[in-house]
């Protein structure tokens, strides 16, 4: 069911997710520190947001491409039938990432047009969206790890 090409895509998906988790965590730390009153280096944050944006899009797109194989090979065979709570966590991950895509659609251009150092509503919302996006990515990463432990895609046996 799961061919060699899909495994390569899954590997790239994992690598992109690693970049995403790193950049989004740095971005979250900057946002939290700035909300607590610390100064923010705008240039640095703009770089992080750009990395978050591109790695999110790559990870999300590759996830969509690999999803059918997962749906048949893992979810149908094991999760839906025997571990429905795992399917629940997977579906939560998918929907929160879908909503995260909408957040990114606002967050990414927002970081380019506003000066986050100024204490405006825009800047506060920008930081809050960055933190929410980070939490979504962390949830997705932890869920992915958890499900891989239950049964890796392309793995052998139930």
């Amino acid at each position: 069911m799961f061919d060699y090409g899909s495994k390569v895509l899954l590997l790239i998906h994992g690598l992109a997710a690693t970049v995403l988790i790193g950049s989004t965590t740095h971005n979250m730390v900057i946002a939290v520190r700035h909300l607590m009153g610390s100064p923010v280096r705008r240039k640095l944050q703009k770089i992080y947001v750009r990395i978050v944006g591109w790695s999110y899009l790559v990870t999300f797109t590759l996830g969509l491409i690999v999803y059918p194989a997962f749906r048949l090979d893992v979810r149908k065979e094991l999760f839906d039938a025997h571990v429905p709570l795992a399917t629940a966590f997977f579906e939560i991950k998918e929907h929160t990432l879908g909503i995260g895509l909408l957040i990114l659609a606002a967050y990414w251009p927002l970081s380019r047009i506003i000066d986050v150092r100024k204490p405006t509503i825009d800047a506060k919302v920008h930081h809050l969206l960055g933190i929410i996006l980070g939490l979504i990515v962390w949830n997705a990463m932890l869920t992915g790890w958890f499900l891989s432990i239950l049964r890796p895609v392309g793995g052998v046996g139930p």
Partner: protein, 115 residues
């Protein structure tokens, strides 16, 4: 608001999340993928696995684009430039994000945990 260019983004986020939440709640007819057949369809044959998720992000992004486009009208932007409306818009956008996330979690847990 600091920059009026942020207004369409907040309206887009509000619209996109609202559309996504509504789609989760009412299950409209969306394009789906049939992995066993390798085909795209709007309705799945009985007993066939249908991946409806593929229709959700494009629908949310379409809602975002409509909200963004509508809010680019000068009158709308001028209205939200005031401090009060700007706060309300920002709060509504964040509430829409939080509500859609919370609904997704509740829906899936209730659905799959009940099986």
């Amino acid at each position: 608001m600091q920059d009026s260019r942020s207004i369409p983004l907040f309206v887009g986020l509000l619209a996109g999340c609202t559309v996504y939440l509504a789609a989760m709640a009412i299950h409209p007819t969306l394009i789906c993928y049939l992995p066993e057949r390798g085909e795209w369809a709007f309705a799945a044959p009985k007993g066939e696995i249908a991946m409806h998720y593929y229709g959700m992000p494009p629908l949310g992004l379409a809602g975002f684009a409509v909200g963004w486009g509508l809010a680019r009208a000068r009158g709308v932007r001028r209205f939200f430039e005031g401090a009060g409306p700007a706060r309300i818009l920002a709060a509504l956008a964040l509430i829409a994000v939080a509500s859609s996330l919370a609904y997704a979690v509740m829906r899936e847990l209730l659905h799959w945990a009940a099986l």
